[in-house]
């Protein structure tokens, strides 16, 4: 009985450890904001987790002429957006790109991004190489697929 419980607990521990620690680089929660009107630029966000240290160095997508890694920062009340050369992915620590921080800037969109649409995005990593994920488009101004803002009104 107690051995069964122990085995169960051990199994759980192994499973959760496996869940928390992917064996290879993983990209989850890829989403973008619907672009208002004919806005030429959009932003995509992802969560990256890698068991070993890596670095995101480039991005591309067929929906835009080019994709760049950008960071947004507030200096006092002034918002500044700057391209960054790369983004370090520390081992075992998820890195989440989100509004108000780093994003993948989609520049020169061929078409506006509509709520509910999805598109491929390729991220290039120094070690893991290129990875393509499917990005889901959320409402314009959404703060993420799970945020209250995304579902606040329809």
């Amino acid at each position: 009985m107690s051995i069964k419980i122990l085995a169960f607990v051990a199994g759980l521990a192994v499973t959760s450890a496996a869940l928390a620690q992917p064996v290879q680089l993983e990209i989850n929660n890829a989403w973008a904001r619907a672009t208002p009107g004919k806005a030429e630029n959009g932003a995509a966000y992802v969560t990256i987790q890698s068991p070993t240290a890596d670095r995101l160095v480039a991005a591309s997508s067929p929906v835009a002429k080019k994709a760049e890694l950008h960071t947004m920062s507030m200096q006092g009340m002034v918002m500044k957006m700057r391209p960054i050369a790369g983004l370090d992915i520390p081992p075992g620590q998820p890195v989440t790109l989100k509004p108000g921080g780093e994003h993948i800037m989609l520049m020169g969109l061929n078409q506006p991004l509509h709520d509910g649409q999805s598109f491929p995005l390729t991220l290039d990593f120094e070690k893991a190489g290129p990875r393509t994920v499917t990005v889901t488009v959320e409402k314009a101004g959404s703060k993420g697929p799970d945020s209250a803002a995304a579902h606040a009104h329809h």
Binding site: A34, P36, G37, A43, V78, G100, A140
Partner: protein, 211 residues
């Protein structure tokens, strides 16, 4: 003895410099903290009155339908004013979406508040561009542009900083103050929020102001 005098003098002046530096630091920090706190929300009272008269003022711009709009045309309603630009993929849609959500939480009082988006990028933001942009948000946003001079004047009145930041390939982004201003129906500055303020915070404050 003269050697002692020569060693105490520099240390004394150094102490004076240190004290002066600390005092200067305190003054700078204090002024900064005062401005941050005063601009954050509720600038009521003496400081608020001084700031209230310092933010806002006359402007002449053009709306998304090509119609001329002045500050006088906007009196009579509460205004939520945000300066941004349509090529901005992050802070601006966040602010406009938060404003839309906040207004949707006001119920029947929603009509007493008018959201206004003023571009800091008149070069790219024509009335047509603005029209397509703001119709994507739920709230009926009044979008304003103008000549470079007209926009500069409006931004100056609202103490909004903006600057072009060139990027590779001829592109550019705009650095800009990201603040949501609440102006009362007489056009007086009443409160402000950052684009990071939760919509609930904005709507709660508006509910109190609208009475």
């Amino acid at each position: 003895m003269p050697s002692t005098a020569s060693t105490t003098r520099p240390s004394g002046s150094r102490r004076f410099l240190l004290i002066a530096a600390v005092l200067a630091g305190l003054v700078i920090f204090g002024t900064g903290a005062f401005l941050v706190l005063a601009l954050r929300d509720t600038p009521r009272g003496a400081a608020g009155t001084a700031l209230a008269s310092a933010i806002g003022g006359p402007f002449q711009l053009v709306d998304q339908n090509g119609k001329a709009v002045t500050d006088a045309d906007l009196k009579g309603k509460w205004l939520l004013i945000y300066f941004g630009y349509t090529h901005c993929p992050d802070a601006c849609p966040t602010a406009l979406n938060d404003i839309s959500i906040a207004l949707s939480q006001l119920g029947p009082k929603r009509d007493a508040v008018r959201p206004v988006f003023i571009t800091v990028d008149p070069e790219r933001d024509t009335p047509e561009t603005l029209k397509a942009y703001v119709t994507s948000f739920d709230a009926p946003i009044l979008a304003l542009t103008g000549t470079a001079e007209q926009v500069a004047k409006a931004a100056k009145g609202y103490r909004v900083y903006y600057a072009k930041h060139p990027e590779a390939g001829g592109d550019y982004s705009m650095d800009h103050s990201s603040v949501i201003y609440v102006m009362d129906p007489q056009g007086r500055f009443t409160a402000s929020f950052t684009h990071e303020s939760a919509p609930e915070q904005i709507s709660e404050r508006l509910k109190k102001l609208l009475g």
